[in-house]
Symmetry: C2
C-alpha cells in the first residue's frame, strides 16, 4: 500500500510501550515519522515491557496528568492515543479505574492538546461500541435486546428475534449504525470518541477513531483478565492445557493482526492532516470472518497442543457475534489488512509471549 | 397527582444541597421518605448553601470518593443522583473537571452501590444528549449537521436542510431518538446514563435517567458560567441591566419548574422498586414550548426592569431548538408538570437569588 511520508513530523504515541502501541511505533518510524512515546508502564496493563527502538523519545508519564501531557506534547504534530485499560474487567468494582484511565485520561489529553495547539488526533476505539452488532430477520435489520440468562443457561447463545423467538442471522455493521455500549469498557470507549468529537467542534481539530476488531499478534501480554481471548488460549496451550472455549465456540469475530492495525493508525495519522473540525470513525478489521472456535482450533493445531474444549460457559455482557464492514477505511484511507488468517495464526501460535502480568 | 408513600424507606440524594437536589429533598420528605444528603458543597458549583431541614441526615462528602460513598450508602434503599458539574463550561480546559465530577463520580457511586447492595438509582440527565434535536423537512425527519460558523455569523441561526439549504421545522424528540452529544457536558451526561445501563445489566439493578429540560425556579445560583440562561437573565436584571439574548431570541425551549422536576424524581424513585435489570430514560419537561426571547421578556416584565436586548451573539455547541416529548413519563410514571409558565416566571422573577458563586 502507499503511505504518505513526511520525515519532518512528530507523532506522540500514548501507550506506546503496550501491545498495539509498540507496533504503531515501528510502523510510524518506517513511514518516516519522528516518534515520541508516553507510557505509564502500569504493570497491571502491560506485564513486562517491550524494548523501544533507540531513536524513540520515551517519556514515563500518565495521560491523566495534565502537566505531564502538556510537557509531552511540545513540538508534536499528531497524537496517536492508545493508552487505555482494555477488556471486560472482573466486576463492577473495576468501573472507576476504567473511567479514570480511559475517559478522564482522554479529557486531560484533549485539554493539554488544546493548550499546546496540537490539532490532530488518532485514537483507539473498539467494535464493542456497537453492542450486540446487527442481525437480519424475516422483517429486515434487527437490533436484538441483551441476551437473557435463561437462554444462555439453556445453551441458546444466538440472539433471538423478539417477534419470532428464532435465532437471528449476523450482519456486517457499518460505522453509522446505532451505538449501544453494554459494559463499562464499551461505555468508556464511546465516551472517548464523543469527547474527541466535542473537541473537534470546540477547537477545529481533526480526529479519527479506529474501532478495532479482535487484535492479535506477537507481543500480546499473556493471561490477564484484560487480554483478549487469543491471548488466553495461547496461555493455556503454553501451560500444556486445552483452550477452554466459552458458549458453543460459534461466536463470529474478525481477527486482525497487530501489524495491520499499526498500518491503519499510520494511514489515519496522515489523513488528519487534510481535515479541519472533523471527527470520523473507521472500523478496522481483516475483512474475513472466523469463529472463536476456529481461533482455538488453529492455535491448538499450530502449537501441537491439546484440542480445544467447548465449555458452554458464558459471561453476561459478552457479545455473541460482532463483525463489521471495513469498507469505509478501505475507501477513505486506502487501507486493507495484509496478513492472512492462517499465516498470522501460525506465527502467533509459536511467537514468544510476553511475561505474565504480576 | 398520586404518590406512593413508604415511610420506612431511605433515599440518598447526592448533590442534595444544590438547586435541584434541595427541591428533591423537600419533595421526598413530603412523600414520606427518610432523606440522607451527600454533598461536596463545592463553592464553584453551589455558591452559598440553602439550609437543609433538620430531619435530613447530612454528610459532607464527594461522589468521587469510594470510601465516603460506601459509608454514605449504609442502610439506603434508593439513590437519587444529582451531584454534577452542569452547563456548557468556559472552554475545553474545563473538560477534565466535567469528566471527573460527572463520569468518574457516577462510576464510583455505582461501584459503591454494588458493594453495599443498593440496587435502585434515579439520576439527573439532560436534553443535551439529543444534540440538535429533531427537525422536519420536505423529506421527513432530518437530523441536521452542526451549524456552521459562516451561517451563524450571517444571522442564519436555524439548522438548515443539507439537501435544500432551507431552515428546518423543529419537532418533539422522543427518548428512543438517536443520541448526539456535541459538547463535553452532554458527553458526560450520556456517559452517566450508559454507565447506569451497564450497571443494571451487570448487577440486576434498576435505574431511571431523567432528561431535564431547562429547569428554573427559586434557589438557582446567580451568575455563574455553569448556571442556565434563566439565572443569567435574572442576574442582569438584579444589576439593573437588560437581559442580553443570544442569537435572535427564537431558540425554542421547554422551561420546567424545579418543584415539578423534584416531583418527577420522587415518582421515579417509587418506580425503581418494581423494576429489575432495567434502565429507562424519561424526558422531563413542562409540555409547553417557549423561546429564550419569551423568557427574557417575562423576566423583564415581572421585575419591572429594562427590556431585553437581542445581540445576535452565539456560542458554538449551543443547541438551536430542543423540545422533547414528555409523553413517556406521563404514561409510565403518572407525572405531569403542574406549574404554569406565567405563574412560575412571576414567582421566579421576584424570588430572592442565591448569592453569587465566589
Amino acid at each position: 500500500m502507499t503511505r504518505k511520508i513526511d520525515s519532518s513530523r512528530t507523532v506522540l504515541v500514548t501507550g506506546g510501550a503496550g501491545f498495539i502501541g509498540r507496533s504503531i511505533v515501528d510502523a510510524a518510524l518506517e513511514a518516516g515519522w519522528s516518534v515520541r512515546v508516553v507510557d505509564s508502564l502500569r504493570s497491571d496493563v502491560h506485564g513486562d515491557q517491550l524494548p523501544l527502538p533507540n531513536q524513540v523519545d520515551f517519556i514515563h508519564g500518565d495521560v491523566t496528568s495534565l502537566d505531564e501531557m502538556r510537557s509531552a506534547l511540545r513540538g508534536v504534530d499528531v497524537v496517536c492515543h492508545q493508552a487505555a485499560k482494555v477488556g471486560l474487567g472482573v466486576d463492577f468494582s473495576d468501573a472507576p479505574d476504567y473511567v479514570a484511565s480511559n475517559v478522564l485520561g482522554t479529557s486531560v489529553l484533549l485539554a493539554a492538546m488544546t493548550d499546546q495547539s496540537v490539532s490532530r488526533l488518532v485514537m483507539a476505539s473498539s467494535m464493542v461500541v456497537y453492542g450486540e452488532g446487527r442481525y437480519g430477520g424475516p422483517r429486515g435489520v434487527v437490533q436484538p435486546p441483551p441476551r437473557l440468562v435463561e437462554d444462555l443457561e439453556a445453551g441458546m447463545f444466538d440472539p433471538l428475534d423478539p417477534q419470532t423467538g428464532r435465532a437471528l442471522d449476523p450482519l456486517f455493521v457499518r460505522e453509522d449504525a446505532e451505538l449501544d455500549p453494554r459494559n463499562v469498557y464499551a461505555v468508556t470507549k464511546l465516551a472517548q470518541e464523543q469527547l474527541a468529537n466535542a473537541w473537534t467542534i470546540a477547537t477545529g481539530g481533526s480526529a479519527a477513531a479506529l474501532r478495532y476488531h479482535n487484535v492479535y499478534g506477537p507481543g500480546m501480554p499473556q493471561n490477564t483478565p484484560y487480554a483478549g481471548v487469543a491471548s488466553l488460549f495461547r496461555s493455556a496451550l503454553e501451560r500444556g492445557e486445552a483452550p477452554r472455549v466459552y458458549e458453543d465456540g460459534g461466536q463470529r469475530r474478525d481477527f486482525v493482526h497487530v501489524r495491520d492495525v499499526a498500518d491503519a493508525n499510520v494511514a489515519a495519522m496522515a489523513w488528519t492532516e487534510d481535515q479541519r473540525r472533523t471527527f470520523r470513525a473507521f472500523n478496522v478489521g481483516s475483512g474475513t470472518v472466523h469463529t472463536v472456535g476456529d481461533l482455538a482450533d488453529r492455535l491448538s493445531r499450530y502449537t501441537g497442543g491439546p484440542a480445544p474444549v467447548t465449555t458452554g460457559q458464558y459471561r453476561l455482557g459478552d457479545v455473541r457475534h460482532i463483525t463489521a464492514s471495513s469498507d469505509r477505511i478501505r475507501a477513505e484511507l486506502n487501507w486493507t489488512a495484509s496478513v492472512d488468517f492462517e499465516d498470522g495464526m501460525r506465527e502467533f501460535a509459536t511467537a514468544p509471549l510476553r511475561a505474565a502480568v504480576v
